[in-house]
Symmetry: C2
Subunit: 356 residues, 2 copies
Amino acid sequence: MPALQNDLFIRALLQQPVERTPVWIMRQAGRYLPEYRATRKRAGDFLTLCKTPELACEVTLQPLERYEFDAAILFSDILTIPDAMGLGLQFSEGEGPRFTHPITNANDIDRIAELEPINELEYVFDAVRLIRQQLNGRVPLIGFSGSPWTLATYMVEGQTSKEFRKIKTMLYKEPQMLERLLEILSASISAYLTAQIDAGAQALMIFDTWGGVLSREAYLKYSLAPMQQIVNKLLQHKTAVEVPIILFTKGGGTWLPEIAATGCHAVGLDWTTEIDHARASIGDKVALQGNLDPTILYGTDDTIRTEVKKVLDKFGKGNGHVFNLGHGIQQFVDPDKVAVLVDAVREFSPAFHQPD
Amino acid sequence: MPALQNDLFIRALLQQPVERTPVWIMRQAGRYLPEYRATRKRAGDFLTLCKTPELACEVTLQPLERYEFDAAILFSDILTIPDAMGLGLQFSEGEGPRFTHPITNANDIDRIAELEPINELEYVFDAVRLIRQQLNGRVPLIGFSGSPWTLATYMVEGQTSKEFRKIKTMLYKEPQMLERLLEILSASISAYLTAQIDAGAQALMIFDTWGGVLSREAYLKYSLAPMQQIVNKLLQHKTAVEVPIILFTKGGGTWLPEIAATGCHAVGLDWTTEIDHARASIGDKVALQGNLDPTILYGTDDTIRTEVKKVLDKFGKGNGHVFNLGHGIQQFVDPDKVAVLVDAVREFSPAFHQPD
């Protein structure tokens, strides 16, 4: 593999000095880009796009052709593991994911406990290999997975939920069943992310989309502890070059010190937490990634520039900041606005990395 | 009006000593109760239920027949004001509210600026008067409104939203337009709540359902500042007996000190904030209301009792705690579980109000 030409992102995650603040955005390969929509149309449906390494590679690279991002992120879905477990993942237009065979009882869990989903996920590792090859050292490639709690939520609810009745009934009525499901998922996700590293992922991110719907106590036990197990496994996996790990719990603003204490390298912040408050509460223990409100991209160019500047000001001087949105970019954003954001980060951020 | 026989709730909100912790639950008059579903069926549709004082009174009182709650809350909807402004409120089964004429431009705002929606809301004040009469001093009656930001969100989005694209585009692209809308709403809500007091409401709660989707800076400016204006107006409205005000921002856990500084009497907490952390961050400036995860009512009786005890323990000794859920009760909860909760609060809480 060729050496990295731009390793700003990796250095920032490892809290090493950088010349400017690296920037990428969650869902940067996505529906706001006409070229993405064209490829998706060609693929026929979303799952085919995920499962065809050439197409996944194509859409992964598309945003890098438009914008000077400092990282690429594997194009995939957070529900690949439950899909590989045979839960029957489906995406209907405008409806979000749905499982035809959700987890409803202990027998369902017995059944998936016997599986080795990683054997069904070779298409993901093929995509990672292909993207690394095509990137040719331009920027680092991020691999990812959903968190155990987040996967369990979809697997038990069977679809996107607002009230989380089924998974929380399990939590408060049959906690042992939930614990068993989370253990299975932690093991599968650890193996999945390790295999992504072996295929070429240079950093990893765990998306805990639904950790924020829990009480503090439930979060620590059912979302953070299983993520901790994964972090432990990944840190034991010896690699020639360090592979930084980012944990991101949407709505986790009040639990940042606990997230940072897992041994991860960086914590992702949604837009409801101010990055200066986050830094004050965590200290310099980990790098921080975030955290512009994605809807600011609906604002004027001036507003975008002003708000980018504010995030940089609030983080302030010092190492360990990766600029990002606080959540995925929305589909109706004008692609030109992303260029305004990236340019603003490149223009304003070097001042925060000058020696005093 | 007869004197209050049970004023525990009012005393707790005013941080006065009580013999036990008062308890009520958000949406206590709601779909989890078969008698509510029967009345709603008789009404034909949800809006008729809200707009017919006799029916609104009937469902308001239903939970008090079953449970020993320490407060009643007016049965109504948070969208009565935009409905009175002619936006065409509709509720379709399982879909949530929808406006046929949402706010899309400055002309729409000009039009509603001319209106006096309070003139169309006599049915609400009639309901308040009737409920007070029927309660006959048994427990206090809570009046309420949605917050300006929350109403604006529905009025601009036209329906429940996940991404809040339209209202946030207004915020980041045409902030003056949003500010004007919020000013109109603050004035209308102030008049609405003042009229509820005059009709007999003995405490008030402002529901800021969507404040938590904002960044801190946007929250302070577009959600909290307009609520502050309302609090100021209400505090100027002289009444024979003090009418305590509760502010509740769902997802507002990191902004509690700012909410408490408005001059309100109590702050509502969702279940993601621990009540001991809240008390530590606010001090004894205001009373706290909350904050059991509503889904705990799907748990076993033992779990419910344990979790009720935990909330009481975490608040600890001292004045100013109103027990409640952290959000509205869900429709699939078994009504018997609510009795378990209320009994647990009545059993465990006196120990926290003994002299040392």
